[in-house]
């Protein structure tokens, strides 16, 4: 036991030198392990994300309110200055919409008659969950927001999130009283859509820019700027006919779409409870089959055109 009696620095000095380096190496190794786990969507990582989200959302809910109040004041000042112009524009739009309303009512009647003729399975009734956007934690490389409703309120993975204008994104993660909403501009977002009045199919793929790209379009299809892009309902995740955007650019590099929703300013969203229905006569499997059928048969696609046209 003699060596312990010597100057303690002989033992402590190397320890003092190596301990922080060892700790650093250990934490780097731990982080790398977490990166691999996260890459394979480990259940533990997903659970941890949900817990953090649930913990942080109430705090963000409180601290984001003054920001919203400020933004509202700014917006109302902007609105005041444009009141007259807005009024005139709205009158014009109202006149135009009235003709559309007449067209939509006519089509709806026709639609109803055709559906009865075909004995089509009725579209699932939608249930809405309203939620406030409380956080924008994505940073430079992720386009997602946090909302203050979770599985306790009926929020589930994959639900579409819409605003008054159209599609904003889908739920990519649901906590108990919070959820993460992946915006349609995010690099991981893919939305099955149809383009223009001829309803050409495609997929809207985000790339972190403000104008997502149209992918997997039939090369023989001509798309022109101004064409409307709506959800197609393929895959069963989204109801068909939700406005998504307008084609803004067509070039050799691809077709770009400007979303109809101002994604950087959304304050409230409505989440569509589409697949999971509370009604007992239409179980989820039956609906999935119905949705597939609607997408597959050309005759039954006609009512969807009416929906898209009616919302124009």
């Amino acid at each position: 036991m003699k060596y312990l009696d010597g100057p303690s620095s002989r033992v402590l000095a190397p320890l003092k030198f190596w301990a922080p380096r060892f700790a650093f190496a250990l934490l780097v190794a731990a982080t790398l392990a977490l990166m691999v786990m996260g890459r394979f969507n480990s259940a533990i990582v997903e659970r941890a994300r949900a817990v953090v989200m649930d913990g942080v959302t109430p705090v963000l809910d409180v601290i984001s309110r003054p920001v919203d109040a400020m933004a509202d004041v700014m917006a109302s000042i902007e609105d005041l200055s444009e009141l007259r112009a807005d009024n005139a524009a709205l009158r014009q739009e109202n006149a135009r919409l009235k003709t559309w309303q007449a067209a939509a009512m006519h089509l709806e009647g026709e639609n109803q008659a055709l559906r009865e003729l075909l004995k089509l399975v009725p579209d699932p009734t939608l249930r809405f969950i309203s939620a406030r956007v409380v956080g924008d934690p994505g940073g430079a490389f992720v386009r997602s927001v946090l909302v203050n409703a979770g599985s306790d309120h009926g929020v589930r993975l994959g639900q579409a999130a819409i605003t008054g204008d159209g599609l904003a994104g889908r739920i990519s993660q649901a906590g108990r009283h919070s959820a993460r909403l992946l915006l349609i501009t995010d690099i991981n977002s893919r939305v099955p859509v149809t383009v223009g009045s001829r309803r050409n199919r495609g997929v809207l793929g985000g790339d972190n820019t403000e104008t997502p790209r149209l992918l997997y379009l039939d090369p023989e299809v001509t798309v022109v700027p101004g064409d409307r892009v709506v959800t197609s309902g393929h895959g069963g995740a989204f109801p068909p006919g939700i406005p998504v955007g307008v084609v803004s650019e067509v070039s050799e590099l691809g077709v770009r779409v400007r979303p109809v929703v101002d994604l950087r300013r959304i304050e409230f969203v409505r989440l569509l409870d589409y697949v999971h229905l509370p009604t007992d006569e239409a179980p989820a499997e039956g609906l999935d089959a119905a949705a597939k059928e609607i997408g597959a048969t050309p005759q039954t696609a006609a009512p969807q055109t009416a929906t898209a046209g009616g919302q124009r």
Binding site: V45, R49, S64, D136, A140
Partner: protein
């Protein structure tokens, strides 16, 4: 000398002040700003805070604290996990390695040092994000984010110095 409950609480508050400030920075970065363009180039304020405390009070924001903050940021951001964690602990380690330089330097020199650190840190974040997503992510928002991050340093550094005066730990 026996301390009263309030004195203990006071001591504890002083000791955890840097950690709490950094935590607050993570939350502020995650706030919805409703300002077009700003949300994508919002500077990672936790980086500013970790840098500041690693220079001036590394004893109060130790490596594991930085690790915890980074992990929280990663879990919150929804991006690949480990990006902020690895970046923040690397920044902490780098600052500690050159701490003597930082502590003795004047403020403009510290700021210059931060510019280099922030460039390296944002670059690393981008690289790790690409690796984590296994795809090429456009680095375009980085330039403006970098400018904002560098600009944020003096402001937050001043605020934290004021805070440090109030919550100076009793040695």
């Amino acid at each position: 000398m026996r301390l009263t409950f309030w004195e203990r609480l006071d001591l504890a508050a002083r000791a955890v002040f840097p950690f709490l400030v950094t935590l607050l920075m993570v939350l502020i970065s995650a706030m919805p700003l409703r300002v077009p363009e700003l949300s994508t180039i919002m500077p990672p304020l936790a980086l500013v805070s970790v840098c500041y405390w690693s220079i001036y009070r590394p004893d109060l924001l130790p490596l594991w604290g930085v690790f915890a903050i980074g992990l929280l940021q990663d879990l919150l951001s929804g991006g690949p996990i480990g990006v902020a964690t690895l970046t923040l602990i690397s920044v902490h380690a780098l600052v500690l390695w050159q701490r003597r330089l930082f502590v003795t330097a004047s403020f403009p020199m510290v700021w210059c040092g931060f510019m280099v650190l922030a460039a390296a840190a944002l670059g690393l974040m981008w690289l790790l994000t690409c690796l984590g997503m296994l795809t090429f992510v456009s680095p375009r928002p980085l330039l403006f984010q970098y400018i904002l991050t560098v600009a944020a340093y003096p402001c937050f550094s001043w605020l934290m110095t004021q805070g440090q005066r109030v919550f100076r730990p009793v040695d």
